[in-house]
């Protein structure tokens, strides 16, 4: 009986907590329950969530990608540079960013797979490299139309309306102009990654690699190729996040996206606890991002000061990790 209870707690505890949180804030914070508030929560977690889905793929193959935050901010700066200074159209700017993300992921993969650099160190190095690199072309300045360049010219280019549409357009749902574009992108990517990891043979082989790479290789899995692919997925999703951020801000803000890495990693790790999976999974990651978003939104509406946010996120993460590892280990032992 206690085993069944424990099992139920591990499986549905996190989702029950999420539901409880929703009910509590709906009652306690007037205005929390409603489409506008929901859209706001989703908007606040969309970009973090997209990055978290990418890092989930690297966690699945037993790796880790610390460079996602830097890839996102690099995409932010690159798209601004491309449109404002080089005066490219939106489509070129987006293509450049996606290519950059895939390229960084590929290099990460090569460093880890071929050069045998441990994943944390390789992606940490890449993170530093990108943070530095994105500042060099503009001497450390943010990019905006009308800025003066080093050679005295004035940047004439602008963020094209098509590009800004990516970050600012709102679809009609229930009420006019409700659902922001980044949320739609987040949901689409979440569904794609969920299908890919959970229901294709490629996803299954990636989980196999993460669980026992040697055994996976001995059944003929091209382990190195899958590892590299995981980092490329992570790089591409991070650059998508960066593009959306740039489109929302409308300028190449050098100081944006500082929190992206930690928030998205936290979402992916919180996701371990959802449905008792005890491993990285796309649904859990999306729920993890949502959980943090709802908690922060609710607290804000109940007038909790902004500086408590990181503390709350940390507390949720630690609780989720304990949930995952301690309780699952107990369940494992009970099953033996």
């Amino acid at each position: 009986m206690t085993d069944r209870l424990l099992d139920l707690a591990i499986r549905y505890g996190f989702l029950a907590l999420l539901a409880g949180l929703l009910v509590y804030f709906s009652v306690a914070a007037p205005g929390f329950f409603g489409p506008l508030s929901a859209a706001f929560v989703l908007q606040s977690v969309a970009i973090t969530g997209i990055l978290a889905l990418g890092v989930t793929c690297t966690l699945v193959v037993g790796g880790f990608d610390l460079s996602i935050g830097a890839v996102a901010t690099s995409a932010l700066m690159l798209s601004a540079y491309s449109m404002v200074i080089l005066e490219h159209p939106a489509i070129v700017a987006v293509a450049l960013c996606l290519l950059m993300g895939a390229g960084v992921g590929f290099i990460n993969g090569i460093l880890i797979v071929k050069c045998r650099v441990p994943d944390l160190l390789a992606t940490l190095g890449m993170m530093f490299l990108l943070i530095g690199l994105q500042r060099i072309p503009t001497q450390g300045n943010s990019i905006a139309t009308g800025m003066t360049l080093s050679d005295g010219r004035v940047a004439e280019g602008t963020f094209s309306p098509a590009f800004l549409w990516l970050g600012r357009h709102r679809f009609d749902l229930f009420i006019d102009r409700l659902l922001p574009m980044p949320v739609v992108v987040f949901v689409v990517i979440a569904v794609l990654i969920w299908l890919f990891l959970g229901f294709t043979r490629h996803g299954r082989l990636m989980y196999a690699i993460g669980s026992n790479a040697r055994a996976a290789a001995l059944v003929g899995t091209p382990v190195e190729r899958y590892r590299i692919a995981a980092y490329m997925i992570s790089g591409v999703t991070a650059s998508v996040g960066g593009i959306l951020l740039a489109a929302r801000l409308g300028r190449g803000d050098i100081a944006s996206g500082n929190n992206l890495l930690l928030d998205s990693v936290a979402a992916a790790l919180i996701g371990f606890a959802v449905l008792g999976a005890a491993r990285p999974n796309a649904f859990g990651t999306a729920m993890g991002a949502l959980f943090v978003g709802i908690l922060l939104q609710g607290m804000t509406m109940m007038n909790a000061p902004y500086y408590t946010q990181d503390f709350v996120k940390g507390a949720v993460l630690v609780a989720a990790l304990v949930f995952t590892f301690y309780l699952s280990a107990r369940r494992g032992r009970a099953g033996q």
Partner: protein, 499 residues
């Protein structure tokens, strides 16, 4: 006869319902090498673990120098003078430190000054090395040394405590014959110093070389003691294997057309070339000790290594795989040894584990069909008698034998042309072993089956033909039904080669 150092009387040990030691009596005398023999699962390792304080006993007494001996843990046993060198060598050394630091590790742990005095440490290490007759550069990093050297270091460090009893658990299992000779020379030295040595092995070549007495274990009890001169090795082997081998009746299959042909194959540069033909419907056991080259041969056949020389053909067509993927495409399936590290995906359930090599066959395009996976897995669960609740059970809820059945079923899901099974009975109870063996023989038609084994009785249970490998050479072939056991044993241990 001198007084015994260690006296064990009526020792009992159970794990759950599993009665592993059923009243063991054993005595160790100073300056004597007592060899403890026994097949896999006889309880040798458990006995060692009780003596060295790793497990508590459930009954019986142990006396050391006449005083009661019940070590609380491994450190306590060592303090009392009972030192054990375990099978897994890398547990015994720290590979990132140099030899001198490894030899002096105990002194570093045992307190003393805060700062390490490099010169004094090296002098002390040199002294230990000299006493043991070690000729190793003390500044070399252990990770750069051979397996034998690491083994020597682990033993030398153990001996630095001047123990009364030294237990060596299958110390040669990772050593080549030449490396093993160096170990034996060291053991001779220790015997002369009056140490009581318990040497666990079931390898005849080791036993002939160093045994003063032999104690044989089978199914958790002592099944024979031998201390006459000369020692009766034949009788010891019989006591180890019991009557199990006569239980099995193999009706040797009439071999069909040749499937796998090896010509002039050489496993190592220093090993001679050999030929081998495996036929349709035939089960061939490749038997040899560790380092005999059988795992290497399996890896070559599966495309994980390239042979030094020679040609391979399957059904007459040239075969030179460059990886597991290509081997699989040609119908060559390998179930590797050490399922824990090489085969089991701990995060997966039974169905996912079983269908892993052929995931592409389950579902349409890249999408997987869970129903198709479970249907196939259920079929195999029935055929091999895998004990589980459902195909969606986690793999880690199964016993070792059932896990192994899943790992083998993995490669039976699709018809193989050449099936390679490397140590398929490792860590498997006798019931599961019979199930697996029967299934392999029943389905042998349509493919050639090669089973790589270290245990003779396992080979006799499954094979139409037994091929003996020793240090990369093919020593002999024996057909089922006309096997001379003692000839087989001496072939495997390489007695003639070394004599």
């Amino acid at each position: 006869m001198e007084a015994n150092v260690l006296d064990v009387n009526g020792l009992q040990k159970s794990f759950g319902r599993n009665h592993v030691l059923r009243g063991i009596d054993i005595a160790l005398a100073p300056g004597t090498v007592t060899v403890l023999m026994g097949a896999n699962g006889a309880g040798k390792s458990t006995l060692v673990k009780v003596i060295c304080g790793h497990h508590g006993s459930d009954g019986g007494t142990m006396r050391l120098d006449g005083r009661p001996f019940a070590p609380a843990d491994a450190a306590d046993a060592i303090k009392r003078g009972v030192v054990t060198v375990h099978q897994s060598i890398d547990d015994g050394v720290i590979s990132d430190l140099d030899v001198a630091n490894n030899l002096m590790l105990d002194r570093l742990v045992g307190g003393g000054a805060l700062f390490v005095r490099e010169r004094r440490l090296r002098a002390a290490a040199a002294e230990v090395a000299a006493r043991m007759g070690l000729e190793i550069d003390l500044r070399a990093r252990v990770s750069e040394l051979s397996v034998a050297d690491r083994q020597m270091i682990a033993i030398a460090r153990a001996m630095a405590r001047a123990p009364e009893v030294l237990i060596l658990d299958e110390p040669t299992s990772s050593l080549s014959a030449t490396e093993a000779d160096r170990l034996f020379a060291l053991i001779d030295r220790l015997r002369d110093q009056g140490v009581a040595i318990l040497y666990i092995s079931h390898r005849m070549s080791d036993i002939r070389r160093i045994a003063d007495r032999i104690v044989v274990m089978r199914d958790g009890a002592i099944s024979g003691r031998f201390d006459t001169t000369p020692l009766d090795y034949e009788a010891a082997v019989t006591a180890m294997l019991g009557h199990r081998m006569t239980d099995v009746d193999i009706a040797p299959a009439a071999p069909g057309a040749p499937v796998l042909e090896l010509n002039g194959l050489r496993l190592w540069h220093h090993a001679p070339a050999f030929d081998l033909v495996a036929h349709d419907g035939e089960v061939v056991a490749m038997v040899g000790l560790l380092g005999s080259g059988k795992s290497r041969l399996a890896e070559i056949l599966f495309g994980l290594r390239t042979p030094v020389a020679g040609r391979m053909r399957i059904d007459g067509a040239a075969y030179r795989p460059d990886g597991a993927g290509e081997a699989k495409a040609r119908g060559v399936h390998l179930s590797p040894k050490d399922r824990g590290s090489n085969a089991v995906i701990p995060a997966f359930d039974i169905a996912d584990n079983m269908t892993l090599p052929f995931l592409g066959a389950f579902g349409a395009g890249p999408l997987l069909s869970g129903r198709a996976q479970v249907a196939s897995a259920d079929d195999m669960i029935d055929r091999l008698g895998i004990v589980c609740q459902s195909a969606r059970d986690g793999i880690d809820t199964l016993s070792g034998g059932n896990q192994q059945k899943v790992m083998i079923a993995r490669w039976l899901l699709r018809d193989a042309r050449v099936l390679l099974l490397d140590e398929p009975f490792q860590g498997v109870d006798i019931g599961a072993r019979r199930d697996i063996g029967r299934h392999i023989r029943d389905t042998a038609k349509g493919r050639a089956t090669l089973v790589f084994l270290a245990e003779i009785d396992e080979a006799l249970e499954i094979a139409d033909r037994v091929v003996v490998l020793h240090e990369g050479r093919m020593v002999s072939e024996h057909r089922a039904g006309q096997i001379d056991l003692s000839a087989l044993v001496s072939d495997i241990s390489g007695a003639e080669v070394r004599a």
